[in-house]
């Protein structure tokens, strides 16, 4: 369920790092909690984001959730698929429905994040 090569946050985001680039998304657990997602608000390329700060938001019919960035860096690309098909985030949160790709400013930040095993324990406890 939760890919081993991702790292996870307590706010239910994931990041997949390849070189100095990270792909960020929200977890399957997060989409499940939110219910039917109707809109995704993402930053423009070039935006500087900070670890732990909001980078955008995800909306269901009656709720808005901030997406907190797992790392600091500069946005390279926002997933265009989500503008027209926000439902993809419910269907494929760990692959096709990634949110943004970022150029990492401090790759060491990733070390603070949870592994897949940690995250599964974490959401198990949260329940």
């Amino acid at each position: 369920m939760y890919p081993e090569n991702f790292r996870y946050t307590k706010e239910h985001e994931w990041i997949h790092v390849e070189g100095d680039t990270g792909t960020i998304g929200i977890t399957d657990h997060a989409q499940e909690e939110l219910g039917d997602i109707v809109y995704v608000d993402l930053p423009k390329p070039g935006t500087h984001i900070e670890q732990g700060k909001s980078l955008g938001s995800v909306e269901s019919v009656k709720a808005v959730s901030d997406v907190y960035s797992p790392v600091s860096g500069e946005v390279l690309e926002a997933n265009a698929l989500l503008a027209d098909s926000p439902e993809k985030l419910n269907e494929d949160p760990h692959a096709a429905a990634w949110l943004v790709k970022v150029k990492l400013r401090a790759p060491a930040e990733v070390e603070n994040l949870m592994t897949a095993a940690d995250y599964q324990t974490y959401i198990g406890a949260e329940k």
Binding site: V38, Y39, E59, V61, P86, E87
Partner: protein, 492 residues
């Protein structure tokens, strides 16, 4: 079994645009008694539009049938109990509609000379005085157009006073049980919002408040009784804690229907409050407005009230525009006068004793519902309730049925749902406010319906989850509406 409803004929009806045909009309203008003017010449050819594409073209009969058919798809107070908690859906007396339409009032222009506006101004003055007496406050502005608008006015008043004292301060404290308009208002008034957690009994946590109030806090916005329908037992202490640090107590008057004639905010330390005339004073909600949100203040805030202020000099009323400390206008003209007329009519009809009786009936009705439903639904905050009662769906949720689904099933029984999932401090809230309007018969039918649904949850949860069944429109797909917004009609 279900004794309030059976199936009823309900007409289909297309949109106006779909039932239009070229050349049809429902109007007749008089013959022009002056020479016609060439539009292109008078306005400039470049400023004259082509025909309004898609605009309706229907006959008078078609128009009235259209809107009448639409109307039959609505539930309304005139159909029966409308127990929306926090909304105070009480009966709207028709006499109020009649007097608001009296020519000399309805056709009064806001700029007609003051000498020809004395009647309107007297209505406003009388209402101001009566609202001041009802709330125990010193001065009232009738300008705000709605509750949220009154909130903004009230917070701007506080800001103006604190600014005058040298420091507008930075924060507004808001309990986590508050209406969403409170934080949104604070933000527009330029304040940061700090949430304050409710105590275990659902009220303002005094220790938490003591800890939070400092020189940065401008005010606490509190609803009293709060959104659980519970009177803030420590309200006087709350006011003291704030005042000691130079902060103000703002009261959201959404729940004044529990207090009129029994207790007055001005007597328990409130500095400023807004009223919702469309709740407490019976002006019709009309499917979502218009309302009116008068703001009542203590003397110290009076200099800051919006311009203009009504002023009496001898027998004459005038408007005072020269008020140097005023926050300015919050709305053009003087307020939603037509709504003010209706509210005054309501107060005059009831009189002092009548208003007090209405309050007692409103509370009696809510307590009665609580006592009857307590065996069937969980009551997370057992403090004595006033005009409304908040249950949680804990017991039903264990069987897979949530408050929203119970609410939809209530429709099949012929009632409008209660308020769903609010206040936020109650998980799965069912917020019920009967108002004084309901007699025992309607209350008992409601209680019977709620008990019946509670039993259905146990025996046949799927039945409840797929409700409603008896409505013309079945469960509406709100997800698609939000994902692919279609916000206007377009020709196919």
């Amino acid at each position: 079994m279900i004794n309030k409803v059976r199936q009823h004929l309900s007409q289909n009806e297309a949109l106006l645009f779909e039932r239009s045909s070229p050349g049809k009309k429902a109007y007749q203008l008089p013959e022009l008694d002056v020479p016609a003017v060439d539009a292109a010449e008078a306005l400039g050819a470049e400023n004259v539009r082509a025909e309004i594409e898609g605009f309706p073209e229907v006959s008078e009969v078609e128009a009235i049938r259209h809107f009448t058919r639409l109307s039959t798809w609505n539930y309304a107070i005139d159909h029966g109990m409308y127990p929306l908690g926090s909304c105070t859906m009480k009966y709207n007396p028709r006499i109020n509609e009649l007097v608001a339409r009296i020519d000399g009032l309805a056709w009064a222009h806001p700029y007609q000379p003051e000498a020809l506006s004395q009647g309107c101004m007297q209505v406003m003055e009388r209402l101001e005085l009566m609202l001041a007496e009802i709330t125990g406050m010193d001065a009232v502005t009738l300008q705000p157009a709605a509750g949220a608008h009154g909130e903004l006015t009230g917070i701007l008043l506080i800001r103006a006073l604190l600014e005058k004292r040298g420091n507008p301060r930075k924060k507004i404290l808001i309990p986590d049980s508050a209406h969403g308009t409170n934080p949104a208002t604070a933000a527009i008034a330029g304040y940061a919002v700090e949430n304050i957690k409710s105590s275990s009994t659902g009220g303002v946590d005094l220790a938490a408040l003591e800890g939070l109030v400092n020189e940065d806090v401008a005010a606490l916005m509190v609803t009293n009784p709060n959104t659980l329908g519970v009177f803030e037992e420590n309200i006087i202490r709350v006011a003291e804690i704030l005042h000691r640090k130079g902060a103000m107590l703002y009261m959201d008057g959404a729940n004044m229907n529990a207090l009129v004639g029994m207790a007055r905010p001005g007597d328990f330390g409130v500095d400023v409050l807004h009223l919702n005339l469309h709740k407490t004073f019976s002006t019709p909600h009309g499917g979502g407005g218009p309302g009116a949100g008068p703001v009542c203040v203590k003397k110290v805030l009076e200099p800051f009230l919006p311009t203009p202020r009504l002023k009496r000099s001898g027998k004459k009323l005038t408007f005072d525009y020269k008020r140097k400390n005023s926050i300015g206008r919050v709305k053009a003209f003087y307020g939603n006068f037509g709504v003010l007329v209706r509210a005054l009519a309501y107060i005059l009809a009831h009189g002092g004793p009548g208003l007090r009786n209405a309050t007692m009936d409103a509370v009696l009705n809510a307590v009665y519902i609580r006592k009857q439903l307590e065996p069937y639904f969980d009551l997370p905050y057992p403090s004595p309730n006033m005009h409304e009662v908040v249950f949680s769906d804990d017991r039903q949720a264990k069987l897979g049925v949530r408050t929203g689904e119970i609410a939809k099933r209530l429709i099949d029984y012929g009632f409008h749902p209660y308020t769903v999932s609010f206040p936020l401090i109650v998980h799965g809230a069912l917020m019920i406010e009967p108002t004084e309007t309901e007699g025992k018969l309607e209350l008992d039918q409601f209680i019977e319906a709620m008990i019946s649904i509670a039993k259905e949850v146990e025996t046949d949860p799927e039945l409840v989850k797929n409700a409603p069944y008896g409505t013309r429109t079945s469960k509406v797909d709100e997800v698609t509406a939000a994902r692919k917004p279609v916000l206007r009609w377009k020709p196919a």
